[in-house]
């Protein structure tokens, strides 16, 4: 068992490293086929007012005069040493630019994840124990509804109702506690739907098990049954779903930050898209991919330790996430 786990962990670790590197190369290729020549578009743009010597020095510093493959090699090797290069527009280190906006996005993402988990557990609890006539069926429709609403619409509705009508927060103060909370709700609701879907399916399955019937016959109350028995086995597969939803959190924060006017990684991406600041785009996208891959690696590695029922004997396809990943977009119902 121990040996099996170590070889499984080694395999997954190597796989993750390969995927991160290849994602960097892929991003480089996509970014370098951007229309037009970034040098002409950005540097020779009269708006920016660079002089000819400045342009030459920037080109030399960025290595833009070298063949593409050489550029890829040098940028990949500096990426591996933690150097993300300089912004094409402001010539500031990309690492600093990201570090400036990262705390805002991290706050948003972690609060959104908290909101999503809380909401998902509440909905799942309701679907098990809310009497049918009090809208249990309605509650079961919630995940499907949440998945059908664009997150920017949720954000706008929250701003309209709680910002404009009730005056809980002002749009011009995007970092106030209430504004952050509602931004997290907007970002978290679609994520909560994915978690709730899996949680409900698992709870339904667990509630049918014999041990649940035994616990009920012993006279255990609903809440005790839920929290003491049903939640633990049902929450385990959620680890994988949460890890997968990091991609959504990272991607959709772009929209949520735009809606709530927050200054985070998402708005940095938007600014870089508008100004074709390729080094920044390259850095943010490959870092996001790295974070996503590492979070999922962690989930994969932790899962067999959390759930003693998972065995790692046999070929690599026994990897516990594979099945969930395949079925991830709502197929769990």
């Amino acid at each position: 068992m121990r040996h099996a786990y170590l070889s499984f962990a080694g395999k997954r670790l190597a796989q993750a490293a390969v995927v991160i590197l290849l994602a960097y190369v892929f991003t480089f290729i996509v970014v370098s086929i951007l229309p037009g020549d970034p040098v002409t578009n950005v540097l020779r743009n009269p708006q920016n007012g660079f002089s000819e010597e400045e342009i030459q020095s920037i080109i030399a510093a960025q290595g833009l005069d070298r063949p593409v493959l050489v550029q890829l090699w040098s940028s990949l090797s500096s990426f591996l040493t933690g150097d993300l290069g300089l912004s094409l527009r402001s010539s500031r280190p990309v690492t600093t630019m990201i570090a400036e906006v990262l705390p805002s996005t991290l706050t948003l993402a972690t609060s959104a994840l908290t909101v999503a988990l809380t909401l998902a557990v509440l909905i799942a609890y309701g679907t098990q124990f809310l009497p049918k006539r009090w809208g249990q069926g309605l509650l079961r429709g919630f995940p499907s509804l949440f998945l059908s609403v664009p997150s920017f619409v949720i954000g706008l509705v929250l701003i309209h109702v709680f910002g404009f009508k009730l005056g809980l927060f002002r749009v011009i103060e995007p970092d106030s506690a209430w504004a952050t909370f509602f931004a997290a709700v907007a970002l978290g609701i679609p994520v909560s739907a994915r978690i709730a879907e899996v949680l409900i399916a698992n709870l339904d399955q667990e509630a049918r098990q014999e041990y649940a019937a035994v616990a009920r016959s012993r006279g255990l109350g609903q809440a005790a049954l839920f929290f003491r028995h049903l939640v633990k086995p049902s929450l385990l597969p959620v680890v994988t779903v949460v890890a997968l939803s990091f991609g959504e959190l990272l991607g959709d924060s772009l929209i949520t930050e735009a809606v709530f006017g927050r200054n985070g990684v998402g708005s940095l991406v938007q600014r870089s898209v508008a100004t074709q600041d390729l080094p920044v785009l390259q850095a943010v996208v490959s870092l996001a991919a790295a974070v996503f891959v590492l979070v999922n690696l962690l989930a994969d590695l932790v899962y067999p330790l959390l759930d003693p029922r998972v065995t790692l004997i046999g070929p690599a396809r026994q990897s516990p996430t594979k099945a969930v990943e395949t079925a991830a977009p709502g197929a769990a119902a």
Partner: protein
């Protein structure tokens, strides 16, 4: 605490083949209306989506203007109806790209196995590693800001999803006894692939395609919302909502296109769930 006898379960399953639940009928009706809007928008509204009457700007919903009017006095219902074609067809293109490219990749990886499988699986891993919306944003930046390019950008992520599911299905079917029997009976690889593996594998791909049609509408609306689709004279749903957010004092400018989007995606999801259940 539900105790269902197995007998009633089988009889209700037999009944479900004929009976379509009312929710699904409603979903089909909504989709039919949306398709009608995108094919012949002129039949559903008499107003021009691009020409406004400045004197009638920012009117609330009324019998004349079902969804009210915008800041230039244009009828919002007409703008929603005329924006349907591009919002819906772009999602269709995205799913078509994902279905065909992803289906082919999955088929090749699952059926051929070996090195083909390893190389293609890594390609899929890379696509799935980059957060979906971020991937769409950099691709649409590379291609240029048009709704069609937004559709392509959305479709590229779909390729990975369909490839992964298709591969799993093909591998499952390949191990079936009847496929083995077909091989033993002397069937060629192509014959078995087209005759046995593909039809069986594509059965579970269809509900997935419907589901991703809804998801693609959302992603493309998100791209349009950020201004990465066609510029303003167009009236994609996401773009309408983006314009409406500057006029939150007149909330129908956000709510009307948003409700249309939600109703469409919800219907698509309902149909997908129904397809999966009846299968």
């Amino acid at each position: 605490m539900t105790y269902v006898l197995s007998a009633t379960q089988t009889s209700s399953r037999l009944g479900a083949v004929i009976r379509i639940p009312p929710g699904v009928i409603l979903a089909f009706a909504i989709i039919a209306l949306v398709i009608g809007w995108s094919i012949a928008p002129g039949l559903f509204t008499g107003f021009d989506p691009a020409v406004g009457v400045p004197a009638q700007k920012l009117l609330g919903p009324s019998l004349d203007h079902w969804f009210g009017t915008d800041h230039l006095g244009r009828d919002l219902y007409a703008r929603v109806v005329h924006g349907t074609a591009s919002s819906v067809s772009s999602a269709f293109i995205a799913v078509a790209i994902g279905l065909f490219a992803g289906g082919l990749i999955g088929l090749a990886a699952g059926f051929l196995g070996g090195w083909t499988d390893i190389v293609l699986a890594r390609l899929v891993d890379i696509l799935l590693a980059i957060p979906r919306f971020l991937l769409a944003v950099i691709i649409v930046t590379a291609l240029g800001f048009h709704t069609l390019n937004a559709a392509v950008a959305t479709g590229i992520w779909e390729v990975a999803v369909f490839a992964r599911v298709m591969r799993a299905e093909v591998i499952k079917t390949r191990q079936a006894t009847f496929v083995e029997a077909a091989f033993l009976a002397g069937g060629s690889r192509w014959h078995i692939l087209l005759r046995h593996v593909l039809p069986n594998a594509s059965r579970s791909v269809l509900p997935l395609a419907v589901l991703h049609f809804g998801l693609s509408i959302l992603v493309i609306a998100g791209l349009a919302f950020l201004g990465y689709g066609d510029p303003p004279p167009a009236s994609d749903w996401g773009l309408l909502i983006a314009t409406g957010k500057n006029y939150l004092k007149w909330p129908w400018l956000v709510y009307a296109p948003a409700l249309v989007t939600i109703a469409t995606v919800l219907s698509v999801n309902r149909i997908s769930r129904w397809l999966r259940k009846t299968d």
